[in-house]
Amino acid sequence: MGLLFLVSAAVALIGTVLLITQKNAVYALLGLLVAFGASAGIFLSLEAPFIAVSQILIYAGALAVMFLFVLMFTDTRTEEDTGMPVAVGARPDFDPAEHGKKKKKKKKKDAEPNKLLSGIVLPKPMAVVVALSLLVCFSFAIIKLPGSYSRFGDLPTVQSAQVKDGEKLPNYDTGLKFTPEAGETEQPRYVDYGSTEAVSYSIFEGFPLAFEVVSLLIFAAVLGAVLLARRHLTGIPGTQDVGKEQPDA
């Protein structure tokens, strides 16, 4: 487990550095993807296989693809790349449609093959100061943790659990005892730490209300995303049919 953690941590750090240094947003997304995959390895080394698989499915699968999708939709260049002010309203003669065209021409003129090293964003001093001071605060908090935090305890085995509970339960896996509430038909038994079964007990026996509320949240988010990204906001005051003036639609 220690080796898996070390390798995953190193890969996660590499991905993070890629994310925060790359100017090209697609390369940065690649770095984020690497960091997410390595985080799944960290979860595995912490004996949380269900979380690791969820991490790969949700973050590396769904979120990364969504990011890539929107990157393809939008212009990923900023003022730093083009040397042109982009603040709308900063120039009275600003025309968004023309602006997009100009930027493209300029890009073609000094087009050079994208290299990983030439696309690095220079560090911003104030951001470095803030992030480093935050890291120092975190480090103090971690160093000040009680001594019990210098090792993970052993997970309970069936034997140790049986000794503790003073009874022999039917079954299966190692570890933690599931005790059904009064009136349920299930038998008490031991389940493995981090297994899907154990996580499901924590969801449906421990926090069922939070689980239901999160489903509502996701429903609202889907509705909101559809409404926000809709092309024609006909009948809604204050919005315009902006699809037509897009230069390369």
């Binding site: 996660a12 925060i20 949380a48 979120l63 730490y193 969801i203 988010a221």
Partner: protein, 108 residues
């Protein structure tokens, strides 16, 4: 030997890197990506504490509450990214840029 402190320290590094990304980048999508990195660091912390308490004799549900909240954070992150990316697309339709410095409509 895997230590809780070293995992927590890694999570702290990832979180600080996410903060740096949010502060230093101007592209809106890069901002969201750095935000995701911060949420991911919090997930690592939660799972670490979950494992720590499982090794110290917590019950089944108490030992897994960290993992449960990791799942909740994932769901909230997915919702947040969905809304955030929709807002970015909507802004891009209006302004033809996704530079954070161009978002000055509420200024003055």
């Amino acid at each position: 030997m895997l230590e809780p402190k070293s995992v927590l320290f890694l999570a702290a590094i990832l979180f600080s890197a996410g903060v740096y990304g949010v502060l230093s980048r101007r592209h809106l999508i890069m901002l969201l990506m750095s935000l995701e990195l911060m949420l991911n660091a919090i997930n690592i912390m939660l799972v670490t504490f979950s494992r720590y308490w499982a090794g110290r004799g917590s019950g089944l549900i108490a030992a897994h509450s960290g993992q449960f909240f990791t799942l909740m954070v994932m769901a909230v992150a997915a919702a947040e990214v969905g809304i955030g990316l929709a807002i970015i697309v909507a802004i891009y339709r209006r302004k033809h840029t996704s530079d954070a410095d161009a978002m000055t409509d509420l200024k003055n």
